[in-house]
């Protein structure tokens, strides 16, 4: 084993500026971290440290507590530079010290209590601060403590991923010093460092409080090594507080302190860790008796998916008007910090630029800094240290001016849309016209439009908070588009995820080794690894857990390669919520990939592919003829498409747009996507032979995804529902299925599955695979025919005409049979006389009609399915699109009483 370390660059962070809200909340940033690269020998690409940190960082976004600064984002810049965005306040404990005044004992107690609350909360989540210092303890507008930089130690894997020490010399606890730096330059004691425990923070806090009490900094103006030596030697002293006071000439100040403060200081500044209390111990200590009762403990808000009542703690003031008071029109300030940051980015915010302007990113020209010599394992020597690679611990405040300016025309109502009044959704805002203009623009542009996104985000946020009550409404809005910020939850809503998913996920055993582990282990490092999140070690870990959870909880199904790709979009969207990723995946698979993951899935896949090739013939006979001719059948290329629902072939950002629509459609929508992809490559496919096609598809060329979505929706509208009937599709849900009761989704023509419709005699009947394969064109059910031809059994018209394919029924029975009764509106082309020996249609009046209605859905009706299928095949051969046959033939129609006898003149 060897770890070659190379210094490359660092990381740092920025924050966003003041909401100019009364509590002076601000987003800030900047921690510059120096990263090292490490190599490993396992043949896999090595993961840059910046990606490791980025992966570990994600968890911090979920750590919300009023005493901690909220982390918002991290971005990776060039040369391993990381910028962290977090909440920030301008005031810190430093301010007290600068003024050189002491702080009143009550205030000290309150600060101590606040800080301990924050620390305790972090400890509960398995983190320690390690970098406490006067300038990291911020004060919000109400004078309450906010701990900043609390995630540094966590995100750097206890300092292992960066080469600067974490913490500030004066505040380091003795045991931290004794354990040494993570990266001793002689590298001999190396990696066997235990991470620091929570008690080190208590020492640092003690030093901080001491400084507050005496009104000056400790150990200022001495060299670092002397400082550390001093701290270490405190171990021999009996009374550390007194020694410190003597050393700094402030014994009097200490003597005057009230007793409880002195006790607190002594407890914090206990040399031996085993005698020092933890933050949790201190919080219940009697010294805080007077303080703790003043504040109610923080309660974690209830998440959307949980078993407890979300409104359980909701208390409305007696006079509801009080809620509306004190609003100073800063609606933006009431949105959550990550929404604001998202909008800030959309409004042209650029972290790198912000930092460059402040002169924080300065780097030497690269030609001046290459190393002189590199060993075979990649260790570099002779490289000068570039200053820009040092930790820059400054915080830059990001200005919200630009964003506010962008949004100045957005009316207040837009921030609080009324959901109950259907009419009011978009119509009340002043900029209605603008918005309706915007919503007709391409999706990519809409996703970058600040105002539009603001309104969409606000709307979705409210709708999702009202989920599942507002499920129908979510569906409706999702048809317009889904704002990227809300996509994770919106998809969950579309998939109908409900219930206490976390508890369900927790009970699944994700640790015990199973035989599939090996395959999962092999697949994960090859799955969407261009993405920073998914390629981070944290990402891999989460991947493994979600996949294992799925495999374990679906004993009848197995892991097929491709499941990893399928998991990727869900994991990416819900990176901090594995349970939701798991729940979405578990809901997605039965809907779109029912039984695809059976151990023996060949019958399912074969049927699927056969239906797919029928769909190609239906929509594009020309292409279908060519592909069949050269033998380029779907089995050769389409299995990964459908098995992974295209996640294996597209990058994530395209999958999101594709799936936004896919999730709205039913389980036959993927066929249309497949056909749309083929059509985009149509010219090249038609021009090429088998080998070139194989090569072309071995690495799918760039696909214009927006066009693909548009085309597939279009194709979908032209496809009669029953044409994609599959015997192995998901069986209809049992009646009384909870999720569909009450506020069920709207059953529109397009979103319901064919399988979900009530079955009747007129529905399609299962067909053996070999029979299915023999037919080029799809069959449609009599039901569909009746529906599409507007034939009515009763008197009422069920649906308006719009939005349904136009249809032409072709009866190929003999003239006599036709005369005895046929479907009204159908034309008669007897099979026996229809085609000339060379396969062309014989010219006659009926074929003329056929010709003139080319492009409509053609339904072939016959006595026997065999002749209908043959006729359809002939039509496809001569490039008639949208040819179908009637399942069961004319016999199916007879009992309906819809056949008519022609009037004499025809």
């Amino acid at each position: 084993m060897h770890i070659a370390k190379k210094r490359t660059s660092f990381l740092f962070a920025v924050a966003i500026q003041s909401f100019e809200h009364d509590d002076r909340r601000a987003l800030n940033c900047v921690v510059l971290l120096l990263l090292e690269l490490s190599t490993c020998d396992n043949g896999l690409p090595l993961t840059p440290n910046s990606i490791k940190i980025l992966g570990r960082f994600q968890l911090l976004k979920t750590i919300s507590h009023p005493r901690l600064c909220q982390y918002v984002d991290i971005t990776r810049g060039k040369h391993e530079r990381l910028v962290v965005v977090a909440e920030h306040y301008d005031n810190s404990l430093n301010d007290f010290q600068k003024m050189g005044q002491t702080v009143s004992p009550d205030r000290v107690l309150q600060i101590a209590y606040d800080a301990l609350e924050g620390l305790d909360f972090m400890n509960k989540h398995g983190m320690v601060h390690r970098a406490l210092s006067a300038h990291n303890v911020l004060m919000d507008g109400k004078g309450r403590v906010k701990l900043a930089k609390c995630g540094l130690y966590h995100m750097t894997d206890h300092g292992k991923d960066v080469d600067f020490p974490i913490g500030y010399p004066s505040y380091l606890a003795p045991e931290v010093i004794a354990q040494g730096t993570v990266h001793p330059t002689d590298s001999s004691q190396g990696d066997n460092l235990m991470p620091t425990g929570p008690k080190a923070d208590v020492w640092s806090l003690g030093v901080l409080l001491f400084e507050l009490c005496v009104g000056r900094k400790l150990l200022q103006n001495i060299e670092i090594s002397e400082k550390l030596k001093f701290i270490i030697t405190l171990g021999c002293m009996d009374d550390i507080v007194t020694v410190l006071a003597e050393e700094h000439g402030c014994l009097d100040a200490i003597k005057d302190l009230p007793k409880n403060i002195l006790t607190l200081l002594r407890k914090c500044l206990t040399f031996l860790p085993s005698r020092r209390p933890t933050p949790a111990d201190l919080l219940v200590d009697p010294v805080f008796e007077g303080v703790s009762c003043l504040y109610s403990p923080f309660q974690q808000p209830v998440s959307l998916f949980s078993s407890s009542l979300r409104c359980a703690h909701l208390e409305l003031p007696e006079d509801i008007r009080q809620l509306c008071k004190g609003e100073d029109e800063d609606y933006l300030g009431e949105r959550s910090i990550d929404e604001v940051y998202h909008l800030w980015c959309l409004a042209g915010g650029d972290l790198e630029k912000e930092l460059t302007n402040k002169g924080i990113i300065q780097s030497k020209p690269p030609v001046c800094t290459p190393p002189n010599f590199l060993l075979e394992d990649g260790e570099a020597f002779g490289q000068g240290r570039d200053r820009s690679f040092l930790l820059d611990d400054t915080t830059v405040t990001l200005s919200l001016c630009q964003l506010k300016n962008r949004l100045k025309d957005v009316s207040g109502e837009a921030y609080y849309p009324l959901l109950e009044d259907e009419q009011s959704i978009l119509s009340q805002s002043v900029s209605t016209n603008d918005l309706s203009c915007t919503s007709s623009l391409p999706l990519i542009i809409r996703e970058r439009d600040t105002e539009y996104q603001l309104i969409r985000i606000v709307l979705f946020d409210r709708l999702l908070k009202a989920y599942p009550y507002k499920k129908t409404h979510v569906w409706k809005e999702a048809r317009v588009d889904i704002p990227p910020l809300c996509r994770g939850l919106a998809w969950a809503a579309l998939l109908g995820v409900e219930g206490d998913i976390q508890a369900r996920y927790d009970t699944i055993d994700k640790d015990t080794p199973i035989p599939t582990d090996r395959q999962i282990e092999v697949d994960i490092p090859r799955c969407h690894q261009y993405d920073e999140l998914l390629s981070s070690p944290q990402g891999h870990r989460k991947f493994r857990r979600v996949l294992k959870a799925w495999v374990v909880s679906h004993p009848d199904l197995v892991y097929w390669q491709g499941l990893d790709s399928l998991c990727a979009p869900f994991l990416w969207l819900n990176f901090n919520n594995e349970a939701l990723a798991y729940a979405c995946m578990s809901a997605f698979i039965p809907k779109y990939l029912y039984n695809f993951f059976l151990k023996d899935n060949s019958h399912v896949i074969q049927e699927y592919l056969t239906v797919f090739s029928q769909m190609i013939a239906f929509h594009d006979p020309d292409l279908s003829n060519h592909l069949n001719e050269i033998g380029f059948i779907p089995d050769l290329y389409a299995i990964p498409w459908f098995l992974t629902m295209f996640t294996h072939v597209f990058p994530l950002h395209k999958i999101f747009h594709l799936w936004d629509t896919l999730l709205l459609g039913n389980s036959s929508f993927p066929f249309c996507i497949g056909v749309a992809i083929l059509q985009q490559l149509r010219d090249r496919l038609l021009a090429n032979g088998f080998n070139e096609c194989i090569l072309l598809f071995s690495d799918l060329p760039e696909i214009d995804i927006e066009r693909c979505v548009r085309d597939s929706v279009n194709l979908f509208c032209w496809t009669p529902k029953s044409a994609t009937y599959r015997q192995h599709a998901q069986p209809p849900k049992a009646q009384g299925d909870g999720s569909n009761n009450g506020f069920g989704k709207t059953s529109t023509y397009y979103s319901t599955d064919y399988q979900d419709m009530p079955k009747s005699d007129l529905s399609r009947e299962p067909l053996a695979l070999s029979d299915l394969k023999a037919e080029v064109s799809p069959r449609i059910s009599a039901e569909d025919l009746i529906d599409l031809c507007e034939l009515t059994v009763g008197a009422q018209t069920k649906r308006s005409k719009t939005g349904k394919p136009k249809i032409l029924a072709v009866d190929i029975r003999s003239i006599e049979d036709f005369g005895r009764g046929h479907i009204s509106g159908s034309i008669n082309i007897p099979y026996s006389t229809a085609f000339s020996p060379d396969g062309e249609l014989v010219q006659c009046p009926a074929t003329g009609i056929l010709q003139s209605f080319r492009g409509r859905v053609i339904v072939i009706i016959s006595h026997s399915m065999k002749s209908a299928a043959m006729f359809a095949e002939h039509l496809v051969k001569v490039n008639y699109p949208r040819v179908t046959t009637l399942d069961g033939g004319i016999n199916k129609m007879k009992p309906t009483g819809l056949l008519t006898v022609p009037s004499p003149q025809i």
Binding site: A178, C368, N372, E376, F381, H528
Partner: protein, 552 residues
């Protein structure tokens, strides 16, 4: 090999005991737990519930007991560990001074707050000034000046060549005379004496010229830098109009013949370009070029002020301090010098023109030599530390023996880097060490030379080298054993490895588009060249042309 192998992982097992009542019976659950606990407490809890079929009415109780147990034990572990560390200090196992110095050093080296303020560096200031000037209207003047210096150096060189030639002719004549007299008035001994005398004379003359050249380049560099600084100052002062135009001095020498030769050479050069896509889902675009040329063609300047030359020169100058550099891989032997073979040829080319920005090649190599010695010392001390954990394989041992023999030599797969501002198309040269092994037919993807390429690409990534030229066959000259199958096999290996490395680099730099030029020796046949250019699109995914069709 796992990264953490060397870790003395102190995991301890502790027994978690949980008692509960189910109906009338008392149940006890004993679970051995590994500390430090790696997994999530809720996961562990879920697993225990499942595994031991714990009734659900104790679920919450189990959870809280379990988490408080783990919390307590973890704190105890922390405390024990921390006090051990403190104990080591009081026992004197660890020296307190050394410890605190390490800390202080770590702070000083890695944080801006504690770092020593940076001393202003002449190089960087000059870099800024130059970068600004070359991107201003003054660029023309600068280039002309550079060209004039170049011309005077070339004249000096041709004078030197002339004088050397004369000397050689004179000596040859003298030698002839002596040889005729051999056996008559002269003995073998006399001949030897004359020969060594000639040799000495040559050496003296060469040294004289070398010193002369060195002197002139030194003066040129100084003058140039002063002039650039002055020009910059003048430019900043809007009142002074300086435009002392510098005209291109026409070179005195007639170069008709050379022009012809050059023309001929350029015809010899074959090249083919490809645009490729890398990546399974997210695709990044890169440019590849297959070139048949001499490796030094990328370094040599064309001798005369033809416009093409100047453009190329401008391009190189513009990007010198930018973030798109050009690199070249030069295959060298295991000694860091410039006495023989391609190294000597390269050194000659690098002297053809003064480097106004970076130290002369000899100086750079001297520094490299120092760094190599340092690196060896560093490695061997580290190696000693790791002796307790024996590293795999005896190959390392062999290597180390080799090293001990001559620690100033470098090993295959290692490379050193030199920087140049005076070469025609290259800023950074990677001198990659290869041995005779690359001539054999059976090298693999794990070969040191290939690993060297990987590291080179990584440096390209971290130092913004966006164009890199790689000898495709890992040789600069063809020899007899390099048959057609040999070439094809080698080319395939290098193509595939480079493709893999490029994909790997995409995760480092976020998929910046680069240009990779594959260089094949001038001596391969045209037919071979086209065979190689046919192979390339089979290995890399060549992006297909966009066909614009009108929609009917």
């Amino acid at each position: 090999m796992k990264k953490n192998k060397g870790k003395i992982n102190v995991t301890t097992e502790k027994e978690f005991v949980f008692k509960f009542k189910a109906g009338k019976s008392d149940c006890i659950l004993n679970v051995p737990l590994q500390f430090p606990v790696q997994e999530n407490v809720t996961d562990l809890h879920g697993r225990l519930m499942l595994l031991h079929k714990i009734p659900c009415f104790v679920e919450n109780e189990l959870k809280s007991t379990l988490s408080s147990f783990i919390e307590r034990e973890t704190i105890q572990d922390y405390d024990r560990e921390a006090e051990l560390a403190l104990q080591r200090l009081t026992d004197g196992e660890v020296d307190i001074n050394q410890l605190t110095n390490t800390w202080a050093k770590a702070y000083a080296e890695t944080t801006l707050e504690h770092a020593r303020p940076e001393e202003p560096s002449w190089d960087e200031d000059f870099a800024d000034v130059y970068h600004e000037l070359i991107h201003s209207s003054a660029s023309d003047t600068l280039l002309n000046l550079e060209h004039n210096y170049f011309v005077s150096i070339s004249e000096l060189i041709s004078e030197r060549d002339m004088e050397l030639k004369k000397l050689q002719e004179r000596q040859a004549a003298e030698m002839d005379k002596v040889m005729q007299e051999l056996g008559k008035s002269m003995t073998d001994h006399d001949v030897n004496a004359v020969a060594s005398q000639h040799f000495d004379a040559q050496q003296v003359l060469e040294n004289k010229w070398a010193n002369e050249l060195k002197h002139v380049t030194h003066i040129q560099k100084q003058e140039y830098q002063q002039w650039v600084i002055k020009l910059h100052q003048d430019m900043q002062n809007p009142n002074s109009t300086i435009n002392e135009e510098i005209k291109v001095q026409p070179s005195q020498r007639t170069e008709e013949s050379e022009q012809g030769a050059r023309l001929y050479e350029e015809q010899q050069q074959l090249e083919e370009s490809f645009t490729i896509h890398l990546g399974a889902q997210l695709k990044t675009m890169h440019n590849l070029r297959l070139v048949r040329a001499d490796v030094l063609d990328f370094c040599k300047h064309r001798r005369h002020g033809s416009s093409g030359t100047k453009l190329r020169r401008l391009q190189t100058a513009l990007s010198l301090y930018s973030s798109s550099l050009c690199g070249l891989v030069l295959l060298v032997d295991n000694r860091v010098n410039s006495y023989s073979g391609i190294k000597r040829d390269f050194a000659t080319v690098s002297k053809e023109c003064t480097d106004f920005h970076f130290p002369r090649l000899e100086e750079q190599l001297d520094v490299v030599q120092q760094v190599v010695l340092y690196a060896r010392a560093h490695r061997s001390s580290k190696h000693k530390d790791q002796l307790e954990a024996p590293r795999n394989g005896c190959s390392n041992e062999d290597k180390n023996k080799n090293l001990e023999r001559n620690s100033s030599n470098i090993l295959p797969g290692e490379f050193y880097i030199s920087r140049h501002s005076n070469l025609s198309e290259v800023h950074i040269v990677f001198h990659l060490c290869v041995d005779d092994n690359v001539r054999s037919g059976n090298i693999t993807a794990r070969d040191p030379a290939i690993m060297g390429l990987r590291n080179i690409l990584k440096v390209c990534c971290t130092h913004d080298v966006t164009t890199i030229t790689i000898p495709l066959l890992l040789v600069h000259d063809m020899s007899e054993e390099m048959t057609i199958p040999w070439c094809l096999k080698r080319a395939e290996l290098v193509f595939k490895c480079v493709k893999g490395f490029m994909m790997e680099m995409a995760s480092w730099d976020g998929g910046i588009s680069r240009t990779v030029q594959f260089l094949v020796p001038q001596s391969i046949s045209e037919e071979m060249f086209y065979q190689l250019s046919n192979m390339l699109p089979q290995i890399f995914r060549v992006s297909s042309t966009l066909t614009l069709t009108s929609k009917h």
